[in-house]
Symmetry: C2
C-alpha cells in the first residue's frame, strides 16, 4: 500500500521492484505485531487525511503564531479522540502521528505516569479521572534553574504546617526556580512539583512529589503566590518551540497535606514523616518505563531520517560513469551507488532496526520487572536499571548523530527545512540530555559494572549474574583462554563469533578499568579520575546488549519470504560496522587482531552489496506516511525536484516581487544615499 503516492509516477518503482523480500511481512515485524501494525496504520492515515492536521511551514511563523497553531491542533486531536471514541491505544497513536509537540505530550507522558507511579490508590482515584479526561492539564516540575542531573540538590521546599494541615511550597532562591517543565509556561493548570519535605521540627526528609495547582480553572490566571511564564525559545524552528517550557516560582504557596504524593512516604496529621511499606525502589520502575520509551523514540527518530536519506539518495544523481545513458542521454549516477554514501547510510539503516528490536525487548523487560517488583522481588532491579539507562544513552546519542549524518547525506538540500531533517534533529537533540544526561547515565552503568566485577573477583556470587551481565561469569575464560577464531571474511557471518568478540571486548575493558581503579587508595577518587575510560567500557557493554538482542531476535520465528535473511544482513552490518568503528577497543584488548579487523571490514563491504537492492523496501517497511515524514526529499514517490521547486514559492518572502525593506534599506544603498538615510 503506497503511503501517499496519490497521483503521478512512482520514481522509486525500479528500486522497489528490486527488493528480495516480502515488504508487507517486514512491516509487521517492524510494527511488532499484526495488531500493532493495523492500529498504527489506521491512525496514521486518519491523521494524514485530516486537513486540520496538515503540516504548515512552522519556520516562517512567529513564536506566538507557532504556539497558538499548535494549541489548535492539540484541541482538534482531543476532539477527534472523543468524537470517534478511540481507545487509549488508538489515541496514543493518534497523538504520535499528529507529531506536533504541545502540553499534551507532557500531560500524557509525564504528569499522568507520575500520579500513577507515586500516588496512593486514593490519590489515583481522585486525580486520574480528572487528568485522563483533561479537565485538568498537568506538567512535571522537577528540574530547577540550578539543578538538573542531581535531583537530590533540588532547593524548592515543602514545609509542613500542622496548624493548618498544609504544606507550604516555596522557592527560597533564584536557582530554585522550576525550569524546563513542558506545558508549564502558559497552559498547565496543575503540576507534580518536586520539593524537599521539611517537617515542623525543621528536619529535611529529602525530595518528594506534590500535586500543586498552578492556574485557576475559571479564568486561567496563575494562583496567588505563583509566578509562572515561558523560558524562551529553543533549538530549531518549530521543534520544541510549540511547547511552553516554563519557569515557576512559589512564594509560600499552601496546598492540602493530601496533595503530597504518598505512595512511598507520607507526613501524618501530626507532622511525622513516615515511610510506607511500599519500597522506594518501586520509583525506579517509573524511570525504567520512561527510558524504555525514549529508546523506542530513538529508533523512530533515526528511522525517519534514514527513510528520507535513503529515498533521496536513490533520486539524487551526481557525477557518473561515462557509459551510463537513459534514452540516449548521459545521466549521472544515483548517489546511493557510492560506497562512501553506502557505508554511512546502510550502517544507520541497520542501527534503526537494531534500536527497534532493543526497544521491543525493553518492553518485555519492563513487563517482567513490574511483575517482580509487585511481588517484592528486587533481584533484577539494579541490572534492569543499569541496562535501561545505558541503552537510553547509547540509542539517543547514536540517533542524534545519525539524524545529522542523514542530513549531510542529503547534501545541501538536507539543510532546507522542507527536507524535514533540521526539525527532526532539533526535536531529538535534547534526548541526549533529558531524563538523565547521557554521560551521567553511562557512569551509572559503569558503577554497576565495576560492582559486578568486584563481586566476581572477591566472592562466590557468580550464580547471581543473570540478564545482560550473565556473560560476565565467563570472565576467566575471556581473560585467559579466549581467542577470536576468524580466519576468513565469511567467518564473520557467524552469530556466535560476533557475540563472543563483543563479550570479550566488553569484559576486558571492564576488567582493565577495575584493575586501574584498584591502584587508587580512595575508590571515589579513582572512579572520578578514570571516568572517561569507564564511560568507554560502559559503551562497550551496551553495544554488546544491542548486538546480542538483535541476534536473539533472529532466533525467533519470523514470517515472510526473505524477511529473516534481510534482518540477518542488517544484524551483521550493525555488528561489523561497530567492530570497524571501535577497532581500537577490539584490537587493543586483544579481542581480535588487525588482520581479523580487516577481514571484518571486507565482509562489511560484501554485506553492503547484499543489502543495496533492498534498501528502499527496507525503509518502506517503516510504513511512514508522507504526512508523518514531513519531508520533500523523503516523499514516497521520489518526485523530489518539482516538489522542492513548488515549495520554495510558498515562503512569505515570495509574497511580493519587490521585497519589504527595499525602499528603506536597499534603494538608498545602491543609490549611494545611505549617508542621509534614517535607518
Amino acid at each position: 500500500m503506497a503511503s501517499s503516492s496519490a497521483t503521478g509516477a512512482d520514481h522509486l518503482a525500479h528500486e522497489r521492484s528490486k527488493a528480495k523480500f516480502d515488504v508487507e511481512a517486514m512491516k509487521i515485524v517492524w510494527a511488532g505485531s499484526s495488531h500493532e501494525f493495523r492500529v498504527s496504520d489506521r491512525m496514521a492515515h486518519l491523521v494524514a487525511s485530516d486537513p486540520s492536521f496538515r503540516r504548515e511551514n512552522r519556520a516562517v511563523l512567529s513564536r506566538k503564531e507557532l504556539f497558538t497553531k499548535a494549541l489548535r491542533k492539540a484541541a482538534h486531536a482531543w476532539k477527534r479522540i472523543n468524537e470517534l471514541g478511540l481507545s487509549d491505544e488508538e489515541a496514543s497513536w493518534l497523538w504520535f502521528y499528529v507529531d506536533e509537540l504541545t502540553f499534551a505530550y507532557i500531560h500524557w507522558g509525564m504528569f499522568v505516569p507520575a500520579i500513577k507511579g507515586s500516588g496512593t490508590e486514593e490519590q489515583q482515584n481522585k486525580w486520574l479521572p480528572l487528568a485522563t479526561t483533561m479537565r485538568i492539564i498537568g506538567t512535571y516540575a522537577q528540574t530547577e534553574l540550578g539543578h538538573g542531573s542531581n535531583v537530590r540538590g533540588i532547593e524548592t521546599t515543602a514545609t509542613f504546617d500542622p496548624t493548618t494541615d498544609e504544606f507550604i511550597i516555596h522557592s527560597p532562591t533564584l536557582t530554585s526556580s522550576k525550569w524546563w517543565s513542558g506545558g508549564l509556561g502558559k497552559i498547565a493548570t496543575h503540576a507534580v512539583v518536586y520539593a524537599r519535605v521539611i517537617t515542623h521540627d525543621g528536619q529535611d526528609h529529602g525530595v518528594n512529589g506534590f500535586i500543586v495547582q498552578i492556574r485557576s480553572l475559571d479564568d486561567h490566571l496563575p494562583l496567588p503566590g505563583i509566578t509562572v511564564g515561558d523560558i524562551g525559545t529553543k533549538f530549531g524552528s518549530g521543534a520544541f518551540n510549540s511547547v511552553d517550557n516554563g519557569v515557576l516560582r512559589f512564594d509560600h504557596v499552601r496546598i492540602p497535606r493530601n496533595q503530597m504524593l504518598m505512595r512511598v512516604a507520607h507526613v501524618t496529621r501530626e507532622g511525622k514523616y513516615v515511610l510506607s511499606n511500599v519500597p522506594r525502589q518501586l520509583l525506579y520502575g517509573t524511570m525504567v518505563y520512561v527510558r524504555k520509551t525514549i529508546v523506542v523514540d530513538s529508533s523512530i527518530a533515526l528511522s525517519r531520517a534514514v527513510c528520507i536519506a535513503a529515498r533521496y539518495s536513490s533520486v539524487r544523481r551526481q557525477f557518473g560513469s561515462q557509459n551510463r545513458e537513459i534514452n540516449g542521454i548521459a545521466v549521472e549516477t544515483p548517489v546511493i551507488e557510492y560506497k562512501t554514501q553506502q557505508s554511512r547510510l546502510f550502517s544507520l539503516l541497520a542501527s534503526a532496526y537494531a534500536f527497534r528490536f532493543i526497544g521491543e525487548w525493553l518492553k518485555s523487560l519492563y513487563t517482567d520487572l513490574t511483575r517482580k517488583l509487585e511481588a517484592n522481588d528486587f533481584s533484577t532491579l539494579a541490572e534492569a536499571h543499569a541496562c535501561t539507562a545505558g541503552l537510553k544513552s547509547l540509542t539517543t546519542s547514536s540517533a542524534v548523530h545519525g539524524i545529522d549524518e542523514c542530513r549531510k547525506l542529503c547534501g545541501g538540500h538536507g539543510y532546507l527545512n522542507s527536507s524535514g531533517l533540521p526539525e527532526l534533529y532539533a526535536v531529538f537533540a535534547p534526548a541526549c540530555t533529558y531524563e538523565g544526561d547521557n554521560t551521567v547515565l553511562l557512569l551509572q552503568v559503569a558503577r554497576f559494572l565495576m560492582k559486578t566485577i568486584s563481586q566476581l573477583l572477591h566472592s562466590d556470587q557468580t550464580h547471581k549474574l543473570s540478564g545482560t551481565i550473565a556473560y560476565m561469569v565467563l570472565m576467566d575464560h575471556y581473560l585467559i583462554k579466549y581467542c577470536c577464531s576468524v580466519e576468513k571474511a565469511e567467518d564473520w557471518l557467524k552469530a556466535d563469533v560476533i557475540l563472543k568478540v563483543f563479550e570479550a571486548r566488553a569484559i576486558r575493558m571492564c576488567v582493565a578499568c577495575a584493575q586501574n581503579l584498584a591502584k587508587f587508595a580512595d575508590p571515589s577518587e579513582g572512579f572520578s579520575e578514570l571516568s572517561p575510560d569507564l564511560v568507554e567500557a560502559a559503551i562497550a557493554h551496551c553495544q554488546l546488549i544491542v548486538v546480542s538482542k538483535f541476534i536473539e531476535k533472529l532466533q525467533q520465528k519470523i514470517e515472510g519470504n526473505g524477511v529473516k535473511q534481510q534482518l540477518e544482513t542488517l544484524c551483521y552490518i550493525y555488528a561489523l560496522h561497530l567492530i570497524h568503528k571501535y577497532s581500537g577497543d577490539f584490537i587493543s584488548t586483544g579481542s581480535l587482531n588487525p588482520k581479523q579487523a580487516s577481514l571484518a571490514n571486507d565482509q562489511l563491504r560484501a554485506l553492503y552489496v547484499e543489502v543495496r537492492p533492498n534498501v528502499i523496501a527496507l525503509v518502506d517497511a517503516f510504513n511512514y506516511t508522507d504526512h508523518f515524514l514531513g519531508s520533500i526529499l523523503g516523499c514516497y514517490d521520489g518526485n523530489v525536484y518539482p516538489k522542492l521547486y513548488d515549495e520554495a514559492w510558498k515562503d512569505p518572502l515570495n509574497d511580493s516581487v519587490v521585497t519589504d525593506g527595499y525602499p528603506e534599506y536597499i534603494k538608498p544603498l545602491i543609490n549611494q544615499q545611505l549617508l542621509n538615510a534614517r535607518l
Copy 2:
C-alpha cells in the same frame, strides 16, 4: 581588558586568577599579530557599543521580520563604514563582528572575488568600482537544483548569437534552476552565473562564468525573462534565514558578449571559443582562497562554542563532594572539575587553537601559491589544492561536531537559544557541504595521495615531493624500519615522537590502500570500491598536517610569560586525543602498540590536569565580546542565572498573563466543551 564585564561582580575572577600565563600576550598570538589584534579589537567594540547592532531574539520573529531587520543592520553597517571612512581591513572586521548573515556576506565573499579571479583586467576595471561601492549587489550562481558537487554537470546554457553579439542565457530544465545562491532571492541586482558555453556551431565548451543583471537598478523588478525568488527556510531559527538564498530561472535572457568572464577563455566577435594564455589552473587559486577562509571560520566557530562551554562549566555546579562548603553551606562541584567534562571540553579547546594556527599557516601557503602562479609556476598547485581541500573538510567536520558537543556539555540550558549554541550550530553546519562536500573533498585528497604513492613506487621522482607530502619520501623507512620509541607516558611529550607516529600511521594507511587498489583490474572500480578506506587514509594525512603545523608554530619565537608553554600543552592534547580516538588506525597499522596507546591516554590525563587552571584564561584570549558571543551561558562575568531568568521573560509568549488561544482551545478543553467547539 575585560570584554564587557561592564557592571557587577566577576563570577569567574577566581578562575582568571589561576592562569599561569600572560593572557594579553596570548590574545596577540591568537589574533596573529599586534596589528590584527588592535584592529579587530577596535571594530569589535565599535559594533558592541552601537545600539543598532544590538542582537534581538531572532527566534521569535517571523521570516519577514527577521529578513527586514537583517537588511537594516546591513544598511547600517555600510553607512558606518562610509561615515567613518573605514579601510577595507577595518570594514571586513566590522562585517565580521556584526555577525548577521545577509546578502553582504555573499557580495563581498563570493561575487567580488569571482570577478577578481575570473574577470579580465578590463572587466575588473568596469565592474569592481560598481561592486566595491555597492552600487550593484552581486551573488554567485553556480549550484543548480539538480547539480551541486559536480560542477561539470551544470545545465544552464549560454549560447552565443553572432547576429547580435550576445549570449543567450537559458534554463533548459527544471533541474537547471539556479538554487542556493545567497542574496539572490530578494536582493541581488547582478549575479555571476555559471553556464555551459555553446557556440553557434552547437559545440559545448564547458562551464564558464557570466555577469548577468537580475533586477532593475531603478525599481528592483526582475528583468524580462528572469524568474527569481527565495527557496524557503533553512536549519535553525535566525541562522541563514536572514539570507535570501534564491532560485533563478532564465528564459532566453540576452547579455552582451563582454559579460562572459574572460580571463581564461573568451568567445570572439565571430563566435570562436578561444582559450587565453592565462592557464586554467589559476582558477584553482580562487578555490584555495575560499577554502582557506573556511578553515579560519572553523576555528572561530569552534572557539566561540568552546568559550561558552568553558565559562558555563566553571559556573554550573552539579553533585559534589560532601566536604565542600562555602560559608558553611554545602556546595556542589563545578562541572568543569569532572574528568568526563574535561576530556571532551579540553580536547575541543586544543582543536580550536590547532585550527587557528592551521588557518594562519594556510594564509601564508596561499600567498606563496599566488606568487608562484603569477610566475607561471604550477609545481605546488596540486599539493596546495589537496591540502586546502582536506583541511577544509577536516576542520569543518570537527568544528560542527565540536559545537554540538559544547551544547551537550552545557546540559539542558545549552538547548536554549539564549545559550547561543543552537544558532552557532545551525550557521556552521552547512560548512560541511558548501564549497565542496567534505566526503568528496577527502576523496580528492585520497586521489592525490594515491598518485603520490604510485609515483614513489614506480619512478624516481622522490625529489619532487615537497610541502605537506614531503614526509612520504621516507616511505620505505616507515614501512620497514619504523618503530615507535615510547616506553613511558612522558615520552609522549616529545614533538618528534608524535610527528613520527602520525607520519607512520598516515603513510601505512595510504600504502595499504594503494596495495588493495592494485588488486583491481579497473583502477576506477577499485577506487570506488575502496573509497571508504581511502577517506580514512585522507583523514589520517590531514590530521598529520594539523599536528605538524602546530608543532612548527611552537618552534617560532612566541612572546609572553608562559604563553608558549600553554600552547605546547594544547598541542600535545590535540595530538594525544587524536591518538586515543583513532587508536584503531594507529594500532592496526603497527604505528604503535596497545601499551603505547594506553600510555598516551595516561599522558593525556596528566595534560588535562595541567591545562585545567588555565582554561578560562585560554578562552578569554579569543578576545570575544559578549555581543559577539551572543550567549548568556558564555558571558564574560559568568553571572549566568540572573541573566537566564531575566531573558526568559522577554519571550513574546509572556506578553500576556493568559495566553493567546486560551478562549478558543484551552477553556473548552478543560470545560469538556470541545465537541461543540469550532476549532
